[in-house]
């Protein structure tokens, strides 16, 4: 195929992402799992890149977690989302950016449902008015926060203090990218690269000097799957998913995993501990695990923020071997010190998985 033809086909997989003026909605669970990620997204976009990103303390969960867990009907989730749109309208914004992949999937699904069934949208408008006397406009553009970081990846690379490179050998780090299922598997045209070639994370890795590795189960679910994990009787399926992914990526010796979903880094990180306790197996080098990061954490590392300010001490799998490989300085003594030097307590050590 001629080059121009390839370019034309590839352009169909692209997504329009406005450069500025976004209304930001946080995830309901990310701040518990990876507490600094959202803060550093705002720090990077607002303070470092000078973008206008607005958030309000009045927004709530999008209801996606309850919807996907079968505890609320879609109409309820739609009314919750309609309220977020109303907040966006009141703040004077037209572009909505979500922190969470499931929120992104939920918003996308709702907007597509309203497009197909306008009468449902009218009913939700009525519900919202009855519930809280608010009116909303649909966003002109909807993006996930990783879309924005993908868009700004070259600007971030130009300000980088460290690259995803082994600083001793100069070899690029071997990076596994894992994209949340709700990003583009449900509505392929809403994600950069579609469902077949999602490049939102691999684009960042390429720009920041790493080498993306391909492996057979690359697009397999991380294992969260909501009901697979939330119902204890199904948890064996959840960990079986994660186990399958790690068994598949192990021969390629990844240095790190980068993710863009709240559940994926949590499960890929914590299940490594559970697998090590169940089977005595670890997947990193010398008894360590493979460190798992959110894209904000990776961007923060590349930009030279302190690893403990980025919340990397909250990970189950030790990040120190990777920091040493990248040449990122860190102080082991301040690892478990919070704000103002306050002790945040040390976790107990696993029996098999090596931690620092």
């Amino acid at each position: 195929m001629i080059y121009q033809g390839k370019q034309k086909i590839w352009s169909d997989y692209q997504k329009e992402i406005p450069d500025n003026h976004w209304f930001y909605v946080r995830s309901c669970i990310r701040q518990s799992f990876f507490p600094a990620s959202e803060r550093y997204f705002l720090n990077i976009c607002r303070d470092l890149l000078g973008k206008d990103i607005y958030e309000t303390e009045h927004h709530t969960t999008c209801g996606g977690i309850a919807y996907h867990s079968d505890t609320i009907p879609q109409e309820t989730a739609m009314t919750i989302v309609a309220r977020q749109f109303a907040l966006m309208k009141e703040a004077g914004y037209k572009n909505l950016v979500t922190s969470c992949i499931t929120s992104f999937g939920n918003y996308t699904e709702i907007l597509e449902t309203w497009r197909e069934f306008p009468e449902l949208e009218a009913r939700i408008r009525e519900n919202l008015w009855k519930a809280c006397r608010r009116e909303f406009d649909k966003p002109e553009y909807l993006a996930h926060a990783s879309d924005l970081v993908y868009k700004f990846r070259h600007e971030i690379a130009s300000k980088a203090k460290y690259n995803l490179v082994d600083h001793m050998t100069g070899e690029p780090l071997r990076v596994v990218e894992h994209i949340g299922c709700h990003y583009s598997k449900m509505f392929p045209h809403k994600g950069v690269g579609g469902a077949e070639y999602p490049c939102v994370l691999s684009g960042m890795v390429d720009s920041w000097g790493g080498q993306v590795i391909d492996y057979p189960e690359r697009r397999h679910c991380c294992g969260f799957g909501f009901r697979q994990y939330l119902v204890k009787a199904n948890r064996g399926y959840s960990i079986a998913n994660t186990h399958k992914k790690f068994e598949s990526m192990e021969p390629y010796h990844p240095d790190m995993i980068i993710t863009n979903c709240p559940g994926c880094p949590y499960f890929l990180d914590r299940w490594q501990y559970v697998i090590s306790e169940m089977e005595g197996k670890t997947y990193g080098r010398n008894g360590y695990g493979i460190p798992v990061f959110t894209y904000e954490e990776v961007a923060g590392l590349v930009l030279g923020f302190d690893p403990w300010d980025l919340g990397l001490q909250m990970h189950q799998v030790a990040v120190e071997p990777l920091l040493e490989k990248m040449g990122v300085p860190y102080n082991p003594k301040t690892k478990y010190l919070g704000l103002n030097g306050k002790e945040i307590m040390k976790p107990g050590l696993p029996t098999v998985l090596k931690c620092c």
Binding site: K232, Y237, I239, E277, M278
Partner: protein
């Protein structure tokens, strides 16, 4: 090892390139119509024994195509040979005869 109250569920993946299709090939040599099945499930839907015994001609054929001979043989025991499945098959497969042929193959193997 630590007990978390759950364990890693075993994989149900099967490698179709490595499945033993000897029995399916033997069935097709006796009953060439077996290849006509499109797994529509009309036979299963109409099966009198199905709701109580789990019998399903569609599943029996799928099991044999996947090399799961034991599961297929166990399911065949539920068949009453009433022939209703033959009457509804949109491909005109004589499913009753096919079941008898399968029983014969399994019977020969058991000897």
């Amino acid at each position: 090892m630590m007990d978390f109250g759950f364990s890693i569920s075993p994989s149900s993946t099967m490698n179709l390139d490595k499945v033993d299709l000897t029995l399916y090939d033997r069935l097709c040599s006796i009953e060439p119509d077996a290849r006509k099945c499109m797994a529509c499930g009309s036979c299963s839907a109409t099966c009198t024994a199905g709701p109580w015994t789990g019998m399903s001609v569609r599943k029996v054929l799928l099991d044999i195509q996947r090399g799961k001979d034991k599961e297929a043989a166990a399911m065949l025991k539920g068949c009453m040979l009433c022939g209703k499945c033959t009457m509804v098959c949109p491909r005109g497969i004589n499913t009753r005869h096919l079941i008898l042929s399968l029983c014969r193959i399994y019977g020969e193997d058991a000897k």
